[in-house]
Symmetry: C2
Subunit: 208 residues, 2 copies
DNA sequence: ACCACAAGTGGACTATAGTCCAGATCTTTC
DNA sequence: GAAAGATCTGGACTATAGTCCACTTGTGGT
């Protein structure tokens, strides 16, 4: 990946969604981006994310390899672009949706709701998210989405001894790699309860 | 990696250290293993773990590439072998050392001591551990060491609502990838305090 | 319509992890 | 100490991510 801030990166600045991308995208570029996303979605669904190579995606989309890498940076960028819509929907629900996920509920309830909603999102697209988080070292922590989740959790954790740290710790338990490893051992139910408890236990008065 | 349980895997079964490896190792094999470990340690120290390729290690050790892979499985296996001694020292201190890390102190104190000691170990060898955890997908959760840490934390967390989950959550915050990302933002001090607090907050009566 | 040029393209190229197996080398047995 | 056979070796080979750049194609200005 050489430049993740160019016009090709598909997600908006955290807490300021829907900014218009300053430099317009050429018509052929838009056509190719759509073709690549479509081909990738189909191949990933058919064979599993890990089993599909970038060459295969390029061939299926009828474009050159270089085109994919120019647009999406690397494999984690492609995975991110595919998740973009779902991710934005969750961000939207957090910013403007009904409580407890959206504004209105008290912070502990919102944090628990966030953890649960994020887990839903994660379990729905586990392999894709995992790819987006692990394709490149440190990828997870560089993408805008992570900053959004972290910022949101930090704000809700105001009052905890170290809100920024606590937010990171909660998100660590929501890493795709971690959830992938723990899920088969404990099952979805215990995972969900555990995450919820973890969210609650970050507050000073917590007693599980 | 084709077989991580063969005679080449360098770590002992959790909670049963120092079992004798059943099939003896041939003399030339032992010589080559030592040469590889020495070369790898030197190259990693000199150029950084990430910047050294397996070919370079093979060349420096004067052996073929196949030899390295047969012995260590993959890059994460090689990193693991280099960490082996440090790791066993920590395990030894946990099993038979003085409290609060070793037996004797009450569980919350032992868990906090474990978290701190593990963080020491991690910060001392961050790049190596990171390589051992991220070179292959899921590598972290497959190695024996993870099971040891998890088992230890689970036992200490008896009484918590879901000890196994809580142990996983604590270890998630101690993942090399996570610590690598959080360290530059928060610094060692806040990291250490955060981990300690996290360990304490896993107990029902916790009030930070 | 045409031009100038920025933006985009695709496939050859590089770097690296990991596989494979014919042959070399140890160890054991007699 | 020689044969038999298990173990180990090394380098050619494959697969894949990601780079590079000469060429093509849109686009906005005139």
């Amino acid at each position: 990946m050489k430049d993740s801030t160019g016009p090709q990166s598909g997600y908006a600045t955290p807490l300021e969604l829907h900014r218009a991308p300053p430099p317009r995208e050429r018509a052929d570029a838009a056509r190719n981006r759509a073709a690549v996303l479509e081909a990738a979605a189909r191949l990933f669904a058919e064979h599993g994310v890990a089993a599909v190579s970038m060459d295969q995606v390029a061939a299926a989309a009828g474009v050159g390899k270089g085109t994919i890498f120019r647009r999406f940076g690397d494999k984690s960028g492609l995975a991110n672009a595919l998740l973009d819509a779902r991710e934005h929907a969750l961000q939207e629900a957090i910013l403007h949706g009904p409580p407890p996920l959206g504004p209105g509920a008290d912070p502990p309830a919102r944090l628990a709701a966030f953890a649960g909603a994020y887990l839903d999102y994660l379990l729905e697209h586990l392999d894709l998210v995992r790819m987006s988080e692990t394709a490149a070292p440190g990828a997870r922590y560089r993408i805008g989405a992570y900053h959004f989740w972290h910022q949101h959790a930090t704000i809700l954790l105001a009052g905890a001894p170290d809100p920024r740290y606590a937010a990171h710790a909660l998100l660590a338990a929501l890493a795709a790699e971690h959830v992938t490893a723990v899920l088969p051992e404990l099952g979805e139910e215990r995972l969900r309860e555990g995450i919820t408890r973890l969210a609650r236990s970050q507050y000073p008065s917590a007693a599980s």
